[in-house]
Amino acid sequence: MHTQDKLKNLGVELPLFPLTSVGSFPKPEYIKKARARFVKGELTRKELETLEEKATREWIEFQENIGIDVLVDGEMYRGDMVAYFAEELKGFSQSSFVRSYGNRYYRKPVITAPVVWEKPMTVDWWKKAQAMTQKPMKGMLTGPYTIMDWSFNEYYKDREATCMALAQVIRKEVEALISAGAKLIQIDEPACSVRPSELPLVIQSMNVVTEGLPAYFFTHICYGDFEKIYPEMTEIPVENFDLEMSNSENDLLNCFKKRSFPKDLTAGIVDVHTHEIEAESTLKARLEQILDVIPARQLWVDPDCGLKTRTVEEAKKKLEVIATVVKSLRKSYSN
């Protein structure tokens, strides 16, 4: 089934160049302080959740105001994209900080026992967020290969066994999201290019997660060596690939020129690792370059990656400039 038909069948109607976000937004100062107080036991979980809901509502209102089409909840209640799931699943223990780049650190989980899905991990938040807007809200998950690759493993015999066990638990979460009403679900696999020889494992495990389920699936992949896994990576069974394009100044297009991109593409067009707010002319030029290679009806637009590394102000400005440029592009396409 063509990706557009799948959206239509799901009852999701979107404009040309749908606007979305990768997932995370920066936490406002009051959330950072509240999380720190919660860790020290100075705030109850309920009090923290009330503040997280407030921040989620603020981000949803902001996205609606600037005309984002498919919303995210901004992950005010999550820390790291792998650690969050490790904390919710049985079989993990938490370890201390490991650096990913620059001054960024994350808590890398340790698998110490069989991984078990005991209850939905994201469904309550998805429901709360969806209830705050009429626009579609994405369900946001991390894929089995990335959770495996970004965890220490002290239990399973090898990487394949770990990944396939995680695929079973992520599928249960996808099923729970769909039961709650989610129609668009993103399953991030940023680690998928790290070992090109393991791409079949990424595909096999994602197949376990998505096979036969009635939703439009995205996967977000970033900062990888795509040349080594393209075009085979498009066999990952999802409808939409959300890729960082601006970090490499659209270098990825060279791959797509050699072999056309067969699925929908959400193109990241702003760098999330710089304080600089890109000029409208820069984004327009990036999009025009992309549109020379990708058919308009296949193209969605967002930032390169989650915006949580920016300040609230920077993140908002980056999203605003994307929205302005895309709206103007839509006009020129409708004329």
């Binding site: 900080f97 490991v98 760098d271």
Partner: protein
């Protein structure tokens, strides 16, 4: 064979407590212009001193400065060279760690020493151990760089230019009294080198080494198929990642070694602690084939920054225990 323990290269910059977070906090404040360069440097020095102290507490024979000032193994070397611009983020091999990709924009020149100050600090603050400074090798730097200048057509030409500037750096480091200089070349696993040409490249690098021992270290790949070739290169110590290679130890047991070896027995990328007896048993099994005058350095498979600090300390302690148990 003699056994010594050595730190591989980098060491975690932060730990769990507020005090152990001081470097992260300092960068955060500096980024927001709330503290001065002088204040950041002070914290960097404190953390470097602590990294050296942890290695000395574990009685390592060879210590590094923990590469505390390095953002990543590529841009830290390349950022101060003329003819190089630092660009976007890329994943570092198959890790969840990122580096900024250099872009070669013109002829590569060394404006001043790259690591002289870091080396001097290491020497000043190392009480007992021998000192080791790490340099990412010219081959790896070249294959991970983007070329956008007519000055070089291929990564091979870039590697040759880099070997020239790194040879100058090695001379400076050797002159300053550093005992060991480690050249990291995980890039051999990205693109197989032309070995004859590579030998010339390493001759250039080693030509100015003075009294320092030059280590060639590979990791993140199965080194067994390259082992014979690596033995032919003009370096003093061959550093290899044992965890990636199911056949490497059998190969060493069969072929022996003409060089000192640094064996990465402890997995620098997994928290699980290795079995002390098994490692000592493996080391003993090498004795027949590794000549008596050769040194085997027991170490981790790669730098320790891929582990949380508490786990890194446990791996350092295990190195100490292995050394102790082996010598008993």
């Amino acid at each position: 064979m003699k056994l010594k323990s050595a730190n591989h290269s980098h060491y975690p910059k932060i730990g769990e407590t507020d005090e152990q977070h001081k470097l992260r906090q300092a960068y955060h404040l500096f980024d927001r212009k709330k503290i001065s360069t002088f204040q950041v440097v002070k914290v960097q020095q404190d953390v470097t001193r602590e990294a050296i102290e942890e290695q000395e507490k574990a009685h390592l024979d060879v210590v590094t400065d923990g590469l505390i000032l390095w953002n990543d193994p590529i841009s830290h070397i390349m950022k101060n060279l003329e003819g190089v611009k630092i660009g976007g983020l890329l994943r570092f091999f198959d890790t969840n760690f990122y580096f900024r990709q250099p872009e070669i924009t013109g002829p590569i020149l060394r404006k001043s020493s790259l690591l002289k100050e870091e080396a001097a600090f290491l020497k000043r603050h190392t009480a007992k151990g021998e000192t080791k400074v790490v340099l990412t090798g010219p081959y790896t730097l070249a294959v991970l760089s983007k070329i956008s200048t007519p000055a070089y057509k291929t990564s091979r030409e870039v590697a040759q230019a880099l070997a020239q500037v790194l040879a100058e750096e090695i001379k400076d480091l050797a002159d300053s009294g550093i005992n060991h200089i480690q050249i990291d070349e995980p890039g051999f696993f990205l693109q197989r080198p032309d070995w004859k040409w590579l030998s010339g490249l390493f001759e250039k690098l080693c030509s100015q080494k003075g009294k320092a021992k030059i280590w060639l270290t590979t990791y993140f790949g199965d080194v067994a198929p390259l082992y014979a070739r690596l033995q032919e290169l003009p370096v003093d110590v061959l550093g290899v990642d044992v965890t990636y290679s199911p056949t490497l130890l059998d190969l060493i047991r069969k072929e022996g070694s003409q060089k000192d070896l640094a064996l990465g027995f402890l997995d620098g990328r997994n928290t699980k602690l290795e079995n002390l007896k098994e490692v000592v048993h493996e080391l003993k099994s090498l004795e027949k084939k590794v000549a008596q005058d050769k040194t085997v350095y027991v170490t981790t498979s790669c730098g320790l920054e891929y582990l949380p600090q508490d786990k890194a300390i446990k791996k350092l302690k295990l190195l100490e225990e292995i050394n102790h148990a082996y010598s008993r």
